[in-house]
């Protein structure tokens, strides 16, 4: 049965939800009895189909944060630019932020013509060995909003993973929106057959970020998603004029370093604030290449090299 059947009411929780058949929206739905009995909640066959499709993808990594605006997409973009700098490495970036898809702009693919609205045209290439997939490519105007409830977002994510020919990939990086909700549950659920190497968690130094990030870590542990490590972004700002460092987002409770120590997680690195990062992202260019000499690029590179490249050079 489809996750949201065509005869379901407006607030259908989805047939594979634990709430299936039990919410107030289910009253009067023709499928209510089946859903409530749990019969509809058999393992989704898509999980096995996705496992088959992903057999040619060597590594799958999620980029997560409980908190918004900490630099998940920025990090994902630099990560794939870095990985793809070795032209023999095949890389793809999947953007599952359905309401706020930033990746097309950051990868210089905004305004790309979508030829035929099929799923294959959602794949856009930055380089021969670097592909990007985002719902952003389906939106014909920058003002178009994707105002979808959970079940519809889940359906899209399932299609992204199952109905696309991923081909031979060394790395599939999945960029996510903030939170611990439909998108995150769906990605983990649909990739449960194929297997995910792990998650990189992004934070800023503030307790306001860390308090949300701890929840994300809790989510990872709950769904048994291995955590590769934590990246602390916006970690200090060096004034270009006087070279003094300011902590614009102060680590009032010890920052990511203390959190990682408390939660026994690797701190992969700390990236400082640099106005050129935002500028590169806005212009859709690789900050890593453009400003290779900068401390922030060095920090990104060091993380990418130590975690992914082992003995290979990134740049």
């Amino acid at each position: 049965m489809a996750d949201v059947p065509s005869d379901a009411p407006e607030h259908c929780p989805g047939t594979s939800s634990v709430e299936a058949g039990k919410t107030s929206a289910c009253q009067g739905c023709p499928n209510q009895r089946i859903c409530a009995s749990g019969a509809a909640r058999t393992p989704d066959p898509a999980i096995e189909e996705i496992k088959q499709k992903m057999a040619s993808v060597k590594h799958k990594i999620l980029v997560l944060s409980g908190k918004g605006g900490v630099g998940k997409s920025t990090f994902s973009a630099q990560l794939v630019y870095g990985l793809a700098s070795d032209t023999s490495t095949e890389v793809a970036l999947l953007d599952v932020d359905i309401c706020g898809p930033s990746i097309p702009k950051m990868m210089g693919l905004e305004g790309e013509q979508v030829v035929d609205y099929s799923l294959c045209s959602l794949f856009q290439y930055v380089e021969d060995n670097l592909a990007v997939m985002s719902i952003g490519f389906l939106l014909s105007s920058p003002d178009d909003a994707v105002i979808w409830r959970g079940p519809k977002k889940n359906g899209m994510i399932k299609q992204f993973l199952r109905d696309v020919d991923w081909g031979e990939l060394d790395y599939l990086i999945v960029d996510t929106p903030p939170g611990t909700s439909d998108e995150h549950l769906s990605v983990v659920q649909y990739l449960s057959g194929a297997g995910v190497d792990g998650a990189i968690i992004i934070t800023t130094p503030q307790e306001l970020s860390l308090q949300d990030v701890r929840k994300e870590i809790g989510f990872c542990r709950k769904v048994k998603l291995p955590i590769i490590g934590v990246v602390e972004n916006m970690s200090g700002f060096v004034c270009p004029k006087c070279k003094n460092t300011s902590q614009i987002f102060p680590p009032t409770t010890g920052g990511a370093e203390k959190m990682c120590s408390d939660m026994q997680l690797p701190l992969l690195g700390q990236v400082p604030l640099d106005p050129r990062i935002g500028k590169s992202c806005d212009e859709g260019r690789s900050f890593l290449s453009l400003e290779a000499e900068s401390p922030a690029a060095a920090a990104f590179s060091s993380i990418i090299q130590s975690e992914f490249m082992c003995n290979q050079t990134v740049l």
Partner: protein, 270 residues
Amino acid sequence: SHRNNSSIGNLAQVRHVVLVLSGKGGVGKSTLTTELALALRHAGKKVGILDVDLCGPSIPRMLCVGRQDVHQCDAGWVPVYTDAQKSLALMSIGFLLENPDDAVVWRGPKKTALIGQFVSDVAWGELDFLLVDTPPGTSDEHLAVVENLRKHKVDGAILVTTPQAVSTGDVRREITFCKKTGLRILGIVENMSGFVCPHCSECSNIFSKGGGEELAKLSGSPFLGCIPLDPQLSTSVEEGKDFIQAFPESATFSAISHIAQAVLANIAAA
């Protein structure tokens, strides 16, 4: 839940309802909601904040109300007050969790149901302003809030962005959401608008420049003002301190006051 016959029952004595939205995460919605609430309170208004960010509720920490039990009364849930005078009331999922570090891993329908309860079943009493803080996006939470507030007059929404194109790009979609759902846009606030180095006073545009004002022009919405990056503001919200009271001489305070005045003027003009 104790549902009143009229679903506007608990909002009957709330004079103004303002949503704080952004398509983009991490731009300062919760910070702005908190500072606006504090500014309005300092101006003698009775204010409530409804925090519908279920996955990442920031407001309890920003107002230093931490772990609190939520009590029931005949009309529903009693909001948490930040002070004995009851001038600032708050409802957040943060108060309903056994352990504040517990993740709320809920799919859309469950979030929608709780938000419905938050809108109808909190006994706000008499308020001049109810500010609704939201998570980023245009999804379940936003639809739930708008639909549940249909029977009550909503003055409009404040949209928050940073100057960068990556941010305004998302906020343009939020503007579309407002237009599609009939939400009046009270105006756009540009946050993180430059950083003045405390050592040499050099201004750095860390998150670019000008995007907020451009977005306002593009969409025909009022531009309410800019707030600079300010470590003292960051620290205040981190530690749940009243920034308005602590730093009344700062440029940031000036910016926030100006925005509060603009919001009040827009509401009065409606």
